[in-house]
Structures are given as structure tokens and as C-alpha cells.
């Protein structure tokens, strides 16, 4: 593979990691806004999401160009394919954070009295996205598997939070709107964690060439 391929690949990875950095920052800022009600941060979240959209297009175009020009095979081709998939996951993370931002914005006039475990779920999902990107940078299967394992914790937290919110709603039906907002936010963060899991699975495929998606379902079906 020519030297120019390595140079182009380094730039491509740099752009992807920049998207990852923006995603991490957006999750952090939207969480802070949900806790503190800082509307200024939300503006930055929306701006960053626009940058992520632009980066997604650039990365996809560059990947297609590189496949066309260098016709990579084996590991290099796998890496480029995974970059496009991780790129798409990160863009969806950006979209979901914006959705959370809109919910936070709608709740600013009448903020809920309690956020329950929302900050915990938000931090855990942010941590999972960070972990998945670290696994990508280090090409580490074990780090990727740790991210996949952490998803169960988020699912438990999400279920627990759902039950608590339901209790609040039953206790005081007037808070239903705000509690519904909280539930949607928790659901969005839980989905963010799922995107992190997808990235981690892509990393495993990139490193080992082994597709571990839907492995549980296959095992269940075979049992």
C-alpha cells in the first residue's frame, strides 16, 4: 500500500476522532444543561451537531475515494468499512443528543423537581462512547468487550429509573409531562449507549475480523 494511503488514512481517522470528541462533548454539555439549565451550552450543542453532519459527509466521501483509488484489501478494507459505520453511529449519537437538548429546552420553564438517575445514565453513556472510541484508537478487543458488557448496567439503570418515574407519575399526576420528558431523555441516553455498543462491535470486527453482532440471538436460537 503506498505511503500516501497511510497519510490519507491518518487524516481520515483524525476526522473520525474529531467527530467522536464532538459527540463526547455534546453528551456532556446536554447533561450539564439538564442539571443546571444553562441554555448557552445548548446553543453550542446544536452548532456542534451541524459540524458533525458536515464531518460525516466528508468522511464518507473520503472513504469512498480511498476505496476507489487504493483498492485496499483485508485489514485496510475492513478498517475503512468500519470507519464508515462508526461515522454513521457517531452522527446518530449527535442527532439523539440534539433530541435530548430539545426535551431539556421544553422542560426549562417547569423543570422537574428531581432528575432521578438521569445524570448517572448520561455519564455512563458518555463513558461508554469514550470507551468505544478508546478501543478504536488502541485497536483493543478487550476494551471493546468491556464497553459491550457495560451496556447491561445502563439497561438496569434505565429500568430502575422507569420504575421510579412511574411511581412519581402515579403519586402526582400533575408531574406527568415533566416525568415523561425525563423518561424520554433516559431512553435517549440508553440509545446512546446502544450506539456505543455498536461502535465497540465494529471495533471487534475491525481487530479480529469476527462479526459479533446478533451473537446472543444466534446462540439462543441454537440452544
Amino acid at each position: 500500500m503506498p505511503l500516501q494511503f497511510d497519510t490519507d488514512l491518518t487524516k481520515l481517522k483524525e476526522d473520525l476522532l474529531r467527530m467522536g470528541a464532538l459527540a463526547e462533548r455534546m453528551i456532556h454539555d446536554v447533561t450539564v444543561t439538564a442539571v443546571d439549565g444553562n441554555a448557552e451550552l445548548l446553543k453550542q450543542v446544536y452548532e456542534r451537531e451541524e459540524e458533525m453532519d458536515r464531518l460525516q459527509t466528508e468522511i464518507d466521501e473520503e472513504t469512498i475515494r480511498m476505496i476507489g483509488v487504493y483498492t485496499p484489501v483485508a485489514g485496510d478494507l475492513r478498517l475503512l468499512m468500519m470507519i464508515t459505520r462508526i461515522n454513521a453511529e457517531l452522527e446518530r449519537i449527535g442527532d439523539r443528543v440534539v433530541n435530548v437538548g430539545h426535551i431539556v429546552e421544553s422542560l426549562m420553564d417547569k423543570p422537574p423537581k428531581t432528575l432521578v438517575d438521569l445524570p448517572r445514565i448520561a455519564q455512563a453513556s458518555e463513558s461508554m462512547v469514550r470507551g468505544a472510541l478508546n478501543a478504536f484508537v488502541n485497536g483493543s478487543e478487550s476494551e471493546a468487550m468491556a464497553v459491550i458488557a457495560a451496556d447491561d448496567e445502563i439497561d438496569k439503570l434505565s429500568d430502575q429509573m422507569f420504575r421510579v418515574i412511574l411511581t412519581h407519575m402515579l403519586d402526582d399526576p400533575h408531574t406527568m409531562g415533566r416525568m415523561l420528558g425525563l423518561m424520554l431523555m433516559a431512553q435517549a441516553f440508553e440509545r446512546l449507549a446502544d450506539h456505543a455498543v455498536n461502535i465497540a462491535e465494529d471495533v471487534v470486527y475491525m481487530v479480529k475480523g469476527k462479526d459479533i453482532r446478533h451473537l446472543d440471538k444466534q446462540e439462543d436460537g441454537g440452544a
Binding site: 491518518t10 481517522k13 483524525e14 476522532l17 470528541a21 463526547e24 456532556h28 458518555e126
Partner: protein, 356 residues
């Protein structure tokens, strides 16, 4: 370029030189020998022809010419022929004259009649071999009566020349073998001090002090050893200076409470001090050469570095480390190389997180 052992640089050239010289000597010797033998043979044949002519003048009867040729031919070892002025062979030491062609148009016969002596080397149709012919006219009372011709096979001369060539061929093979041994000896003589030089150089690379090897007796190699010795001294001084400066800079950076990151123009990390490594949770030695985004995944820091690399001005800004919840004040300055060219940027990071 294909690498070959020293002997393969020396031996073929030696061999070629020797073989070309031998070929030149062989060709020259062959030509001289051939000319000498031809000259000798021509002289002998002329003398033999004159002897026959004198015998004929002394009164040999016409019917006795053939017998005289055969008698003298047997005793002299030459082929002797007497040819009439009309070209008809009157006598021949080897064949019956009646069975022989008309010799009036033979080159040497024509020349003898015209110039007084004729000589030629050609293939004899009668004897089926290469022959040298010398012919002289038989002059009686001032008139040419016949032509006397003496001839000899050139086989003997050719055999002598073949022998010379065979001797030269044998000598060539012997010299080629001797040249291998001589080349091997020369190569060994050159290789031994070169191996010593290489050994000293390799030891120097591994950190030992360079010691000049003893004189090899080959002036060129001694000059090379001196040059290596000088280079080693100079390198030793320079490495010492660089190590000292590196230690000073490392100590200075290690003492700083601010994090320092140096990056090249492609935003690859050149160096991070202890404070920066601790700040970003990076292991020492694991960041050099990696892209900044791989080491510190922070879009704001990346933008500030990019901004620093694009200007000669000092760049300032703030970043947030979301995972650590820390705010950092960042100062960026472009790095210049020795020639004044831009080689990267230095980023200084101060933790300005409000306590509590």
C-alpha cells in the same frame, strides 16, 4: 545495486586482465612464429630448387628428369617438380608426370617465368593439403628452358602453431587458478583490517568507546580508520552535548506544574511532559509519534493547535476535559527549526478548574 563479496569485485577483473594479456601475447607469438617458419621454409625451398636446377644444367638427360626429381625428393624431403615452358610436367618427386595437369598457369610458375622467382602458399589438388611452393626458371645459355619448383607441406608449421596455442591455453587455465588464490589472499589481507574496523564501529554503536585499531599496513584503510576515529570523537562530543541538553530540558519540563505538549506540523505528538501525561492519563512513551486526536481526544484543543500552527501569534484559549470535569487554560506557540522554518507547536496547559 546487487551486493557482492569483495573477491567478486577483484577476481573477474584480474582474470580478464590476465586472459586479455595472454591472448595478445599468444596472437603476437603465433604471428611471429608463423612468419619465421614461412621465411625459413621459403629459403630452404629456394636452395633446393637451385640445387635441382644446377643438377639439370650439369646434363641430366630429359628422360632422366623424373628419376632425378624422385631421387632428390626422397633424400631432401621436399617435393620437387620440373615444368616445361609449355606447362607440361617433365618430372615430379611424388607423382607420375603423365597423370599431372598442365602447370603453366600455376601462380608460382607464372611468377618465376616473369620475375625470376615465384612463391605461393595454396592447397594442392594433387596432394590434397596446404603447400608452400617456390619456383625458379632453369636458364641455359641465357634462355629459360624450364621451371624448377620445390614445395613443402605446411602441416608442420600449422602443427607448431597449434602446439603454441595449446601451451597458451594450459597456461591460461593454470593462471586462472593461481589468480583465484592470489585474489583470495589479497581479499583476506584487505578484509582482516576491515573486519576490525567494523567490529570497533559496531561496538561504538552499542555504546563502547571507539578505539582506533592498530595500523593495517594498507594506507587507504589507515586513512579510513583515522577518519572513523575522528568521526567517533566528534559524535561522542555531540552526543554528550545533546544528552546534556536533553536532560536539562527534561528536568525543566518535569518540574513544570503546567502540562506541555509539543506537536509537529502534522499534529503528531513529539513530546509530553509529566504534568501533561498525568493530566490526560497517558503512559510515558506511549504518545510519541501518535496523532494528537489519538492521545487527547478533545476537539477544542485540536482547534487551538490548528490555530497555533496557522499563525505566528501566540494563541490562547480554554478547554474542558469532560471526563475529568477540569477546565484548562491553553497557550500555544509555533515552534521554529534551526533554519527558521516552522516545525510544529508547543502547547502549555494550566489547570484553572475552580476548587470545589
Amino acid at each position: 545495486m546487487k551486493k557482492r563479496p569483495l573477491i567478486w569485485h577483484i577476481y573477474p577483473s584480474y582474470l580478464w586482465l590476465i586472459l586479455v594479456a595472454m591472448l595478445a601475447v599468444a596472437v603476437s607469438a603465433s604471428r611471429i612464429t608463423k612468419a619465421f617458419h614461412y621465411e625459413q621454409t621459403a629459403g630452404q625451398l629456394t636452395s633446393a630448387a637451385h640445387l635441382v636446377a644446377e643438377q639439370l644444367k650439369a646434363g641430366a638427360a630429359e628422360e632422366g628428369i623424373d628419376a632425378l626429381c624422385k631421387t632428390l625428393g626422397r633424400s631432401s624431403g621436399y617435393r620437387l617438380t620440373v615444368i616445361g615452358m609449355d606447362g607440361i610436367v617433365a618430372g615430379d618427386s611424388e607423382e607420375s608426370p603423365a597423370e599431372m595437369d598442365n602447370h603453366g598457369n600455376r601462380e608460382e610458375v607464372v611468377a618465376a617465368i616473369a620475375e625470376g622467382i615465384g612463391q605461393s602458399c595454396r592447397f594442392s589438388d594433387t596432394l590434397r593439403q596446404e603447400m608452400m611452393y617456390v619456383a625458379i626458371p632453369l636458364v641455359v645459355d641465357g634462355r629459360q628452358q624450364a621451371v624448377v619448383r620445390a614445395s613443402l607441406s605446411l602441416e608442420r608449421i600449422d602443427a607448431a602453431l597449434r602446439s603454441i596455442w595449446i601451451q597458451f591455453l594450459i597456461a591460461g587455465v593454470v593462471i586462472a587458478v593461481v589468480a583465484v588464490a592470489a585474489s583470495a589472499l589479497i581479499v583476506r589481507r584487505i578484509n582482516r583490517p576491515m573486519r576490525r574496523l567494523r567490529g570497533r564501529a559496531e561496538a561504538f554503536v552499542l555504546g563502547e568507546t571507539y578505539e582506533r585499531p592498530p595500523s593495517s599496513g594498507i594506507s587507504e584503510l589507515d586513512v579510513l580508520a583515522d577518519a572513523l576515529s575522528g568521526m567517533a570523537r566528534e559524535l561522542h562530543v555531540r552526543i554528550g552535548t545533546i544528552s546534556r541538553q536533553y536532560d536539562e530540558i527534561s528536568a525543566l519540563l518535569a518540574c513544570m506544574t503546567e502540562g506541555v505538549i509539543a506537536v509537529d506540523e502534522d499534529k503528531r505528538v513529539l513530546r509530553m511532559n509529566a504534568a501533561a501525561l498525568e493530566l490526560f492519563g497517558v503512559e510515558a512513551g506511549a504518545c510519541e509519534g501518535k496523532g494528537l486526536m489519538e492521545v487527547v481526544r478533545n476537539a477544542e484543543l485540536y482547534d487551538l493547535v490548528e490555530k497555533t500552527l496557522g499563525t505566528e501569534e501566540r494563541v490562547e484559549g480554554g478547554i474542558l476535559l469532560t471526563d475529568l470535569d477540569r477546565r484548562l487554560q491553553v497557550h500555544g506557540t509555533v515552534l521554529h527549526g534551526k533554519g527558521g522554518n516552522r516545525v510544529g507547536a508547543v502547547i502549555v496547559l494550566s489547570d484553572v478548574t475552580s476548587p470545589g
